[in-house]
Symmetry: C2
Subunit: 287 residues, 2 copies
């Protein structure tokens, strides 16, 4: 763990939150704060602000490197039940990074054209270029989540998709993409309260859709679909992290940490100039 | 002027910075701070933070409205000489808004495919959808700026482009796009110092290109091209604003103000729910 990590964490959340063999989603306490050493919000706010600066510099190094041929990039995949806080992660964690370094895409229900292709076709078109942090708000995982719950694909097709996803992600990793997959976990009661809040507030009602309640009624089936997806597709090349998200500040801190950790592993350096610095200074001075 | 405006401005920068008949770029003092009433940086920092919250809420209302059929959107066009601070505006002003509400595109030298089409072809593909704030880092104006300086088009073709741009922007405005065009203005000496700083700092060298000095040698010709572009294309539907940018904090404050002002003129309201709120509360309560 780096200096920043030590200040705010008792134990490395990258390790604590990672989905490994034997993982059971039902065992995750959505209100817990694994690894965080502060007991109060103030400490979390300080940790968030410091983390923002660290993440920002790392992102700029990644971007700078790509201008000199470094092909590496990062892909953050966000999945969650409605109201769990994907939007807040995008706004507060992704939003703390220079927008020029981000490629964000929110996947909706597939269009007719997209449905005419294999399920990874539309995903390939939204991958980040070298030097960028790609962010998927929902992703190809919908094709083994809502697709399973709503029986939008045959059992054999669903079964095949886990393998196709593993291969796809392995290929991305081989080509230089660091993949960080995050599921934000809340409890069913908390979702109910959050949906009720959307109905209660004039500035939140626009986020509510009557269909949200229909999906909510399938809560247990979704949890089973998540359990399966997590255990079948958490690989060394593309691990899943399940982040307890009832405390929003914790979820933001943890996801930021996961991004910082992924970028630190790349051991990024400022690129060395491909031109003669002294000669350029002389040219510039003469103008 | 709204409450926020009155706190930080003596006079409305939207009016002060706007390019009108008789405008002369050479008369702009790049180190000035038109309209700002604070003498110290602290006041500017407070103004920036307060403005960020205001802008953030306005953007969310714009986005929310689009989910209920409001077709309006905003387009911020950024043009400037190298090092004038376009990147800083994107990072600090655009970056203070929820990334989900932004469509950012940085135009580079046109590709072979792009050159095979008319100069507005590639621009049309990057326009913001309803509810979004589009941001152009460079734009179709390069086709009357570098194209004029470097003689990449015939004099007749260049002359025709001003009219094509006016028509294009009028059409966008008629379709519900509020266009804000910003030129960040620095002085030649300041550019020299900023380029020298890039050469001096290991974390900045990656931003330097030897070609920057070649463009710099054409400073006066660029200023003439800007003068022409500003006077030919600042229209009621798509006005230009020239923002003095030697003081970075001022440029950020002013551009944020221009965006806030553009959004306030839209008189945005939170959309009214298209469903029966009481019935939805009852359905949700029953789950």
């Amino acid at each position: 763990m780096g200096e920043l990590t030590k200040k705010f964490w008792n134990d490395d959340p990258t390790s604590l939150l990672r989905v490994r063999g034997g993982f059971r989603l039902a065992d995750v306490d959505p209100g817990s704060t694994p690894g965080f050493n502060g007991v109060d919000r103030q400490n979390a706010d300080r940790a968030l602000a410091e983390g923002a600066r660290v993440l920002s510099t790392l992102q700029e190094k990644l971007f700078a490197g790509s201008k000199f041929g470094d092909a590496r990039r990062v892909l953050l995949v966000l999945q969650a039940m409605d109201t769990a806080g994907k939007g807040g992660i995008v706004r507060h964690v992704v939003g703390s990074v220079d927008p020029q370094g981000i490629r964000l895409y929110a996947f909706k229900a597939p269009t007719e054209e997209e449905r005419a292709h294999d399920f990874l076709w539309r995903v390939r078109k939204r991958l980040p270029d070298a030097g960028l942090i790609g962010v998927f708000d929902r992703s190809h995982y919908e094709d083994v989540l809502i697709a399973r719950v709503r029986r939008l694909a045959s059992p054999a097709e669903l079964e095949a998709r886990y393998g196709q996803i593993r291969e796809f992600e392995q290929q991305l990793a081989d080509e230089g993409t660091t993949i960080v997959k995050v599921m934000l976990q809340i409890g069913s009661d908390d979702q109910k309260a959050r949906l009720m809040e959307r109905l209660d507030r004039a500035d939140k009602q626009w986020k509510y859709h009557p269909g949200d309640v229909d999906e909510r009624m399938r809560w247990d089936t979704y949890q089973e679909a998540y359990q399966l997806a997590l255990e079948r597709t958490s690989t060394p090349a593309a691990p899943w992290f399940v982040v307890p998200a009832e405390k929003k500040w914790y979820a933001r801190l943890a996801v930021r940490h996961l991004l910082i950790d992924a970028l630190e592993r790349l051991a990024l350096e400022w690129p060395v100039a491909a031109f003669d610095v002294a000669a350029e200074k002389a040219r510039l001075a003469a103008t």
